[in-house]
């Protein structure tokens, strides 16, 4: 629109800067990964050998199969937990419901490999529970491998199903249910034939996110897989491993992983594009009157699931105050784990705080204008941005990190070994979230507010700066904290990109795990939990006001 004046320049500048950023730090590195996978390592000739080698190797096929099976099982289990829990949260008068809702969303933002590590501390070879049970003669099955991984994924990722499904159940106007009952259907029949189908798109959207996250996750299998092959772990080993390094094969596996997640993501978009059952509830439907035993059962179920998913994090914090003798715990309280962790240096803590803050700030500064432009001033070019901006969803942190290493290890722009490459990786990874949360915020601002301002004589650009930005600030702050929290607990790209000077808390914890420092790992995990939990609880009120849009 010609009449938009300065805002058009703003729109074009935003779009071009964002596209340039993504081209340089996302598309170019990914292209190098693809190119790498299609090259003979020695001669540089084009070859499909890396792929044929992987596809004919029982080990790597097993790795792919394990990852997909773990992802699929976790998805199914997360849905089986998430949907009933969502219904209870939306429609049953549970005690402490708002606390329950907060606790239920925590596993999403707390580092999942900490949960995996807690499982090891409790049920591992030398775990607290394992040892205690063994002492009284009860043997316990191994939690390493598939079972442990699926348990951790299910308990940490089910909020992806839960949150949109709760919103879905709440958005169904009670009149729909009443008309079903009026036509002679039982509550169960109405649930099965009306309520469930209506929330199905929201549920499936969440479930596919579970699948993608489980497939890409590096930390959980690296803690729990032991010697079983997993895609994300193998890519890291092939690329960075000391003994069996094979970057070309890592590239081929990366392409396989990205292709799978991208396919799932496309399926999700395609599915959702054709299904939108908005029933436009004027207010959330009322709680279902339940008899005492049923209400008790629902409460026990809901609180049970949520506490179970939060329990590992609590356990890690408790254990971090216990004394370790080698890998074995004793029941003596003390701060010596923290002492030995921090004796080395406070640097990892500072690095984490600094890198996460920079990443949160930059991702918001970049994502918010994009979200605004995409929502208010769509052009063909910004439509392209919409697509490219969502690509990081489909790219695992490890693969992105490998691409960044390939791209910026030499040549005109060398970033490896510094802090900037970590910030870049975080910003790229968190950008889709930042864009989405910004555009959700803009969606909530009625366009006629901006038109009223313009109509009263304020130019569009000035309207954006003096009216729209202040209206967005609250939501943006909430989104920024979430980015901060997830960047602070990022492991999968950090582990590839860090240099010793810029090792973060997650790296420290990972290294302690690989070594024998079980106590130090617990201390590092606890510090991580505290540092992610505190800002989260601080913005909790903000989160509730914008609930669905931020997660």
């Amino acid at each position: 629109m010609k009449s938009l004046g300065g805002i058009a320049a703003f729109r074009n500048a935003t779009t071009l800067i964002a596209l340039a950023f993504l081209a340089l730090f996302l598309l170019y590195p990914l292209w190098l990964v693809l190119q790498n996978s299609l090259q003979d390592e020695a001669s540089g000739q084009f070859t499909l050998q890396n792929f044929t080698q992987i596809l004919s190797s029982p080990y790597y096929l097993g790795s792919f199969r394990n990852s997909v099976v773990a992802g699929a099982l976790s998805t199914v289990l997360a849905s089986l937990i998430g949907v009933p829990l969502a219904f209870c949260l939306a429609r049953v008068d549970l005690p402490g419901k708002s606390a329950l809702m907060t606790l239920a969303s925590l596993p999403l933002v707390l580092p999942s490999f900490v949960s995996a590590y807690a499982l090891v501390l409790l049920f591992g070879h030398a775990g607290v529970v394992t040892v205690a049970l063994r002492a009284i003669g009860i043997p316990i099955g191994s939690i390493y491998g598939m079972s442990g991984i699926v348990i951790v994924f299910t308990l940490t990722l089910y909020p992806y199903v839960l949150l949109p499904t709760v919103a879905g159940f709440r958005a169904i106007d009670v009149s729909i249910e009443e008309s079903g009952r009026n036509l002679g259907a039982s509550r169960w029949y109405v649930f099965r034939t009306v309520l469930l189908p209506v929330v199905m798109p929201a549920m499936l959207a969440g479930a596919l996110l579970v699948f993608i996250e489980a497939l890409e996750n590096f930390g959980v299998p690296s803690v729990l897989a032991e010697d079983k092959p997993y895609l994300a772990v193998d890519i890291f080993k092939l690329f960075a491993g000391e003994s069996d390094s094979n970057p070309a094969a890592a590239g081929a596996l990366s392409v396989l992983l990205v292709a799978t997640t991208a396919l799932v993501l496309l399926l999700q978009r395609h599915y959702l594009a054709r299904r939108r059952f908005a029933t436009g509830a004027r207010r959330a439907p009322p709680a279902i009157p339940l008899s005492r035993p049923w209400r008790l059962a629902a409460s026990v179920f809901s609180w049970g699931i949520v506490l179970l998913s939060v329990m590992p994090f609590v356990a890690v914090v408790v254990i971090s105050f216990l004394r370790f003798h080698g890998p074995v715990l004793s029941w003596e309280f003390g701060l010596n784990n923290y002492a030995s962790l921090l004796r080395g240096s406070y640097q990892p803590l500072y690095s984490t705080l600094l890198l996460a803050s920079m990443a949160a700030l930059l991702a918001t500064l970049l994502g918010a204008p994009i979200g605004y432009v995409l929502t208010r001033h769509r052009t063909r070019l910004s439509g392209l941005l919409d697509v490219v901006g969502m690509i990081p969803f489909a790219v695992s942190g490890t693969v992105l990190a490998i691409g960044l290493l390939l791209a910026f290890n030499s040549g005109w722009l060398v970033l490896t070994g510094g802090w900037l490459i970590l910030v870049v990786a975080y910003v790229v990874r968190k950008l889709p979230f930042s864009i989405r949360s910004a555009s959700a915020i803009v969606h909530q601002i009625d366009p006629s507010l901006e038109e009223a301002s313009i109509n009263l004589g304020v130019s569009p650009l000035k309207t954006f700066v003096t009216l729209t930005v202040p209206l967005m600030l609250g939501g943006l702050a909430g989104g920024m904290v979430l980015i901060w929290v997830t960047a602070a607990s990022e492991l999968s790209s950090t582990i590839v990109l860090y240099s010793s000077k810029w090792a973060t808390m997650t790296v420290t914890m990972f290294q302690a795990l690989q070594g024998t420092g079980a106590g130090e790992a617990a201390a590092a995990a606890s510090i991580l939990i505290v540092f992610t939990l505190v800002p989260l609880l601080l913005v909790y009120r903000l989160l509730r006001r914008h609930d669905g849009s931020l997660l």
Partner: protein
């Protein structure tokens, strides 16, 4: 205080011509309403005047200044939005002051002008309140004050009353009309409510599918609709299909529903298919034997609506026809025996059949 001239303006969205070569002249101080069903282009036309929608072809003039290339914030129009569009982060006074601050008016003057504007909309003393403390009607008054205080060249209303409840709607439209008349401002008002349009306007343009069907005073639009669409859109009417006969010098006989109606003037060539519009309130229930121009009917249903009574009648061939009468008059005047409807040939309007 401006005349507005639209000269063959056009706007297409995809394959749809939302505004299809519309030309209108709105006089100084006139209250002009754009009326039509949803999707007729009325809001697009208003937004073209405000500058929120580009004019693809044609031009828009305020007096002798062409404004369609002027950015929206420099047009000096005061727009009142359907959902009020009150800035939630500013107090009532700051909302009203918004346009004045944008124009760099000095502070002392802003305070007095804001208070005066708030008094004009009967919200004196509300300045320090926050928007969330106000009701819908009050918010709309703030929006009006905010538009008036900048002394706009023209006032634009985009369905300003449709979010209010029925009683408040009637009250607010009187207030809007009185304000506009006392300030002598040119106003363009968009609505889909024909009663609102009739009540408030100096002139009405009825729009349909991006084109103007008819422009005229409320009385002319209602009494002498130029098209069947306008006749039907402006409140309930009875449409009877028929075939014109030969003009006898004063009336044209039209064969409709098994009878012959006499319509004043020559309405069509003999043999032409026509539609006749008979407004319910122009019909009168009489005894069949009474004589004069009338149609034999049967009573099917009587609806008591308080001030009026609506009678659902059927013509001998089964065609339904509705009659409105003032309540109290019909029961007393209900004739014995066979019934008929007396009509005034001058108040029957004929259109070419589609």
């Amino acid at each position: 205080m401006t005349t507005i001239r639209l000269d063959a303006v056009r706007r297409t969205f995809g394959a749809v011509r939302a505004v299809d070569d519309i030309s209108l002249t709105i006089g100084q101080g006139e209250f002009f309403t754009l009326l039509g069903p949803s999707g007729c282009g009325k809001t697009t036309l208003l937004r073209m005047i405000a500058g929120f929608c580009d004019v693809e072809q044609g031009s828009v003039w305020f007096g002798d200044q062409r404004i369609d290339k002027l950015p929206a914030h420099r047009r000096n129009t005061g727009m009142v939005f359907q959902n009020y569009a009150i800035f939630p982060n500013l107090t009532v006074a700051r909302n009203v002051a918004y346009g004045l601050r944008a124009r760099g008016v000095d502070r002392a003057q802003i305070a007095t002008r804001v208070e005066k504007a708030l008094q004009t909309v009967r919200l004196g003393g509300y300045g320090e309140r926050w928007p969330h403390q106000l009701s819908g009607g009050q918010l709309q008054r703030v929006a009006i004050a905010r538009s008036l205080v900048i002394e706009p060249a023209v006032l634009l209303f985009d369905e300003p009353l449709s979010n209010l409840d029925a009683q408040l709607r009637v009250q607010m439209r009187v207030e809007i009309r009185q304000l506009q008349q006392s300030l002598g401002l040119t106003a363009v008002y968009v609505t889909h409510d024909q009663e609102e349009a009739l009540a408030i306007s100096d002139r009405i343009a009825v729009l349909r599918a991006g084109r103007v069907e008819q422009v005229g005073s409320p009385e002319a639009i209602y009494r002498a609709p130029e098209t069947a669409f306008v006749a039907e859109f402006m409140g309930a009417t009875n449409m009877l299909p028929g075939e014109a006969g030969a003009f006898d010098g004063t009336t044209t006989p039209v064969a409709a529903c098994g009878h012959t109606l006499h319509v004043a003037g020559q309405v069509a060539a003999p043999g032409a298919k026509v539609m006749l519009s008979l407004r319910p309130e122009t019909l009168r229930l009489v005894a069949a034997a009474a004589g004069g121009p009338c149609l034999p009917v049967r009573l099917q249903l009587r609806e008591f609506l308080g001030p009026i009574v609506r009678l659902h009648m059927v013509l001998p061939d089964g065609t339904p026809i509705r009659v409105s009468a003032l309540a109290g008059q019909d029961a007393a005047a209900m004739p014995e025996g066979d019934l008929a409807l007396a009509y005034d040939p001058a108040q029957v309007v004929a259109f070419p059949a589609p």
